[in-house]
Amino acid sequence: MAHAYTPGLRISERTTVRKERLLPIAGEVLVEKGARVRADDVVAKAELPGGVSTVNVVNQLAIAPEDLGRYMLKKEGDAVSRDEVIAETRPLIKWFRSVARSPIDGTIETVSRVTGQVMVRGTPQAVDVRAYIDGTVVEVQPNEGVTIEAAAAFIQGILGVGGEVYGELVVVGSGPDAVVGPDDLGDDLAGKIAVAGALVTSEVCERAAEIGVAALVCGGFHDSDLRRLLGYDLGVAITGHEDIRPILIMTEGFGRIAMAEGTYELLTCRAGQCASANGATQIRAGVLRPEIIIPVAEGAEQPAGPARAISATGLTVGSPVRIIREPGFGRLGAVKELPPGVEAVECESKVRVVVVEFPDGESVTVPRANVEVIES
């Protein structure tokens, strides 16, 4: 394979981030175009239909479905309260009267002459959509939501779990290859997005949960710890729905892997600023990666950061690369040579290869598919 570019993860010191914030159903938009919003501002709200309870009236009254209309006391659209009689028989002797009652507070939604069922819709549930990032409303879709734009540093991770959070960005640990322990987390991390180094363990996650940390960002995580954290084996990489705190964002992969220096430096440069993070990941068509967004504060002078941007173009001699499979998983080097033909590697597979030279002068030949370009 001449072309080899595994996941193109974006890392940008300053870019324009646009986020659509849409309601799950039509509702009300609360902000206008041009408005400045904070991450936790509610920008749109709606009422989700309440849960449905069914009452099998024909069984309860021992009547035929087609006769249901004669016995109903309530019609579709009527409000009812819990235990209120909604249908009854009217026998000559009142003692034989049968009744059907509403199991919940709500509204009669349907009365079926086919099945004899009555559906009662519960009280609507309010749903709020928040801005998620500090920024400006640049587009309003009436009844549906808004688009928010911000100048921000933007970092994608490789895999995350958990949904949206926001908080102050804090760096813990001593560097990109550090392994943070539970004791490294102080109570002052409550509500913050903590950037750890090469590895976070389940013990660290438990400690972070006790404190109330919003998010942990790390180079790697062991799958066995992830399984413990989630309570199940993550089969298909579609995440974001997990109800966990802190959310977890891995920037490199599974195992102990030093966070890429560019990523670590950028996060370190922005420490102390407010950030938004989302662990939602989908490694399939319509790919979605976890993200950390650090908006530029309004009127603030942006501190200089490393001018790095990961690209995912084809390999060229000199391209800085990372090895992304054993042997040498996680090692950084530069393309030394791109042999034109196919070569047999240790397992006897014949593949297109690349010669990578590491900073210590060592060179290795690996399949082109097993490296990613990390900087341009």
């Binding site: 595994t6 086919v114 490694i283 790919v287």
Partner: protein
């Protein structure tokens, strides 16, 4: 352009991980596959355009063949000397999976039939809803609302049977106000394939809340299933609602000279064609990055009319695969089932991390022999699980009809009886990267034998360079070209497996064999738990005679000898004395697996 005018054909298969391009050219002896190129599929960022991977794979094809195919980002047509092609065709699975919920009145009848229809169409069945599934109505409604499937298949009631229960299910659906997973502006597609007498009631209940598609009842009478129309409807909606979401798909559609096919449909075409033309019972498998598809075409035993019928089944295990879905193989099989195939000691946590890293970086390939062995261990489990799912789906249908008596309908064992008869299996064909690109063909043969556990005498083959999807779509345009390339360039005969089908006693002799090739005899014996390889080359056949020990069955009954003609291949004839079901002793697992691999010379000895 008429089929007979097609001289140069370029075909791609846009898989979930890799886009594979092949060049087919008409030569003096007929159509031949001449060159192959590949590139990563580009549905991911930064490209998010499936056509980029197509162009890259074609660029590699140009580089290798010396033929100019592209003019910038345009495919040159028609073919001229040294440049261009007459037609471009492709398959595509780059739209992700199809997630469905199915519903039927009785869990073991119409709901089960609905599940078979959805699985047969390639769906992941998220939940099976039934009137008698013991869940309260509000629980069902809540479940529908929270799952957000791509599509719902609603069935229930035989024609003329219950209306009330079917409409009740429709009412639950409507009450949930369901929304599809993709595309917030769409209404959720609902396929109704139930009692025809309930159609109007179902329509009136669901008209507001869903995009309703009504098709024939999938269980018109208790004794007959009619899954085809529902499956076709699901397939059409899949293309419109799920695959169409794949980035660049619309552009790809404008390039092709024939309708884009999903790979399972294309491979199914080819498998069915061979089975019927050659009168063989075939199982075919295509193991990809995200899905594993299994196809079977069997001659059923003669019924009361003295005639059997050929039945074709296709299953798509949407979350069993070697890259995007590799972690799900671990989740479904369990770490111990994967470890039992790994011929060396490895820390469980390390193995877990390696599998997950393959999932998040799906285009990487094994470099170390150890990594290759791990991938092949996972492949065995993916294949095994997919075959289990296939057998559950391929139950006693006779064409689209399967007669069941009322008493059989109440008999759960009859309801699940598979038509896959391993002793009657003639040919097992493997396709997909991990099989087609195994560095040694004997590795592919071992994976197929271990995962499918053929019984008696079974021929095995692999798709040489993973081109069955291409040929399946080509068959729609030019059947002769597809058949010629299939015969000459696609199928690589691995050889034949002769296996004992009972559990032989450890340490005892299992069977003796005699192989007669061109008048020369070779004889040997196989002990319990042993694999023996006898060379028999491509194009060679041999008469084989197998005499089992008294308590051993090699397909004809305990202690009964068999005589058969076996076909050679790039590996040869494997005599398998390990018994069925295959059990790997875990106390000396590494030693046993290494011995088996050595018997087939599967791995280089220096590691």
């Amino acid at each position: 352009m008429k089929p007979e005018d097609l001289k140069v054909i370029v075909a791609t298969d846009c898989g979930s991980t890799t886009t594979k391009a092949i060049l087919i050219e008409r030569q003096a002896e007929g159509y031949r596959q001449t060159f192959r190129g590949e590139a990563p599929t580009t549905v991911e960022a930064p490209f998010e355009d499936v056509t980029r991977g197509v162009l890259n794979s074609l660029a590699e094809l140009e580089e290798l063949s010396g033929r100019r195919i592209l003019d910038g980002e345009r495919i040159i047509t028609p073919a001229r000397p040294g440049e261009g092609v007459d037609i471009y065709i492709t398959t595509s699975s780059a739209g992700g999976g199809l997630q469905m919920m199915v519903a039927g009145v009785v869990k073991s009848m119409t709901a089960e039939s609905a599940q078979r229809a959805a699985l047969g169409a390639g769906a992941i069945v998220m939940d099976v809803l039934a009137s008698n599934d013991q869940r309260a109505p509000h629980e069902k409604i809540e479940r529908i609302r929270t799952l957000r499937p791509d599509m719902v298949l609603l069935s229930g009631g035989t024609d003329g049977g219950t209306v009330r229960h079917v409409v009740e299910l429709a009412e639950f659906l409507a009450a949930a106000k369901p929304r599809p997973r993709l595309g917030s502006s769409f209404k959720l597609p609902v396929v109704y394939a139930g009692n025809r007498d309930a159609r109007e009631d179902v329509r009136s209940v669901l008209a507001e809340e869903a995009e309703l598609h009504i098709t024939e009842n999938l269980r018109p009478v208790l004794e007959r299933e009619n899954l085809g129309p529902a499956r076709d409807e699901i397939h059409d909606l899949f293309l419109k609602h799920v695959m169409a979401q794949a980035p660049g798909y619309k552009k790809l559609m404008s390039w092709v000279g024939a309708e884009i096919m999903p790979p399972p449909a294309a491979v199914g075409n080819i498998i069915q064609r061979i089975a019927r033309e050659q009168g063989l019972n075939i199982v075919g498998v295509d193991i990809g990055g995200a899905t594993t598809d299994i196809f079977s075409d069997f001659q059923t035993p003669a019924g009361e009319d003295g005639l059997g019928e050929r039945v074709f089944h296709r299953s798509v295990s949407a979350n069993l695969g070697m890259s995007y879905s590799v972690s799900n193989v671990l989740a479904e099989a369990g770490i111990e089932n994967i470890l039992r195939w790994v011929p060396f000691d490895i820390d469980e946590a390390d193995l877990r991390d390696r599998i997950k890293n393959k999932m998040i970086r799906p285009t990487t390939v094994p470099h170390l022999l150890e990594e290759l062995k791990i991938e092949q261990a996972i492949a065995r489990e993916a294949l095994r699980l997919a075959f289990v799912q296939h057998k559950l789906l391929a139950v006693g249908l006779k064409g689209i009809q399967r007669g069941r008596t009322i008493s059989e309908s109440f008999d759960e064992t009859m309801a699940g009886q598979t038509v896959i008869n391993m002793r009657a299996l003639d040919l097992l064909v493997g396709s997909g990267g991990v099989l087609s690109h195994a560095p040694r063909r004997s590795q592919a043969m071992m994976m197929l034998i271990d995962a499918f556990q053929p019984e008696g005498v079974t021929r095995l083959a692999v798709d040489s360079i993973f081109m069955m999807p291409h040929l399946g779509v080509l068959a729609q345009v030019h059947a002769t070209a597809a058949a010629e390339v299939f015969e000459r360039d696609c199928l690589i005969n691995l050889g034949t497996c002769v296996s004992c089908v009972s559990k032989p006693k450890a340490g005892r002799e299992c069977f003796e064999y005699r192989l007669t090739v061109g008048g020369r005899r070779r004889e040997g014996s196989v002990s319990a738990g042993e694999l023996v390889l006898e060379p028999l080359g491509v194009g060679e056949t041999a008469a084989v005679s197998v005499r089992p020990a008294r308590s051993v069955d090699v397909g004809a009954g305990r202690g009964r000898a068999i005589e058969a003609e076996v076909v050679g291949g790039v590996v040869g004839v494997v005599f398998d004395g390990r018994g069925r079901p295959l059990v790997i002793p875990q106390n000396n697992r590494s030693e046993i697996l290494t011995r088996w691999a050595a018997a087939l010379d599967a791995y280089p000895a220096r590691f």
